[in-house]
Symmetry: C2
Subunit: 236 residues, 2 copies
Amino acid sequence: MRVTSEMPPIPWHKARRADTRQPLTPEAVVEAGIHVLDREGLEGLTMRRVAQELGTGPASLYAHVSGKDELLELMLERISGEIRLPGRPEPERWKEQIKEVCREAQRVYTAHRDITVVSLGGIQLGPNKLKVAEFVVGLLLSAGIPRQVAAYALDGLGQLIDSDAYEASLYTAKIAAGVDVDAYFDGVRDYLARLPEERFPLLKEMAETMVHGDGDERFEFKVEVFLRGLESYIER
Amino acid sequence: MRVTSEMPPIPWHKARRADTRQPLTPEAVVEAGIHVLDREGLEGLTMRRVAQELGTGPASLYAHVSGKDELLELMLERISGEIRLPGRPEPERWKEQIKEVCREAQRVYTAHRDITVVSLGGIQLGPNKLKVAEFVVGLLLSAGIPRQVAAYALDGLGQLIDSDAYEASLYTAKIAAGVDVDAYFDGVRDYLARLPEERFPLLKEMAETMVHGDGDERFEFKVEVFLRGLESYIER
DNA sequence: CGCGGCTTCGAACGCTGTTCGCTCTCGGTT
DNA sequence: AACCGAGAGCGAACAGCGTTCGAAGCCGCG
């Protein structure tokens, strides 16, 4: 209910949004989306919230983006552009370099909260993601891994990174929400330790071992295991 | 607007819901939830829809279940109970038996659409899930895999199963929605084949290889790779 | 100068999870 | 036998969601 609805527009208020914001392009919408995502997570990423970030209403976004799904995919592709690859592939260090890429990808995705659910949801073919894939597949082939194995491995590594980044982001979200994660894991350990001996002897006894290690350590381990498995496919 | 609001209750209508439905317990709510999930997927699983399934309104559910999140976790745990384990662990066949468990888990989860997003979201400690974990960790230890490695491996295998089942469910959902998945993959292959030579030489050339193989084949491969990697940790 | 097409956006639609408060039932106590 | 409190059931409502519609405004081209 604007009381000024009958009044002439105040001249120096005219281009108010244009002062602080560029004139609304798909890129600007994506950027605003990423801002909201970083601040409030995927759950808080609503079209209304993104529109607010741009000083407008939700309906305005639909001129630049077909809907929330497309916005999410554009955001994911934009974020994938942040992944930095090693300067040049070094085939003799293929395992180490693939690990570097995995670490970097995991770092970038985790930095943007739970964006990776989008990635888990389907194949992404944007240039930024493809660039990473091209680099990794090159390393695999140069290591002597058969083509079909390399293709499947690309899939597997992507899934590993995505699901791990998703899990990691949920913990950082919990921390941000004020949950004491250490206490949570203590609770899990105690729960396991108190399991009935006759049904879960191993889990009960391994309670301490089960909760040991942080996310990075576990991620590092999974990648190492996968790469060791891949190594066994090398043909000479 | 019931016109009978002033009339005495018609006796044989009295227990109308009780005739067809048990008197609403947490178990009944979970079961109804699974019915809706199977029929309409996680997206179609709403509190209203579950309530409708039970012949009541959404508010009634909250007496038995604290909210949608808890309902989902209860559903996941109930579904985990469908996973059948081999009769007894056979340490000399540990790899094959772990594969059997993975296949079975993947089958069960995929049969219930995209329920595994819940699993990706955190640690589940229900007895049904723990039973599977106990079995697998027993096999790993009996194979000579160090305790800490076994603990991490449990995590890794779970993640593999969950993310794969999630992906698989999305494709079956697409099929159910009438999408021609073969045509979709043909499109992906053509897209890859038409990539610019100078930027993506490998992906371009490997287009056919990249889209080769169905979900089961890829899943089988990933599990095999992971297990081969695990094998290298065995200490004698 | 006029006009057609694109952008902008207030309002609305149908949906969601959840809460409130009233009614009703039923088991246990006085 | 009477009562009463606890819990279950549930209609109504709230705040918020993604998305659509239609009117208005703007800009560049003819």
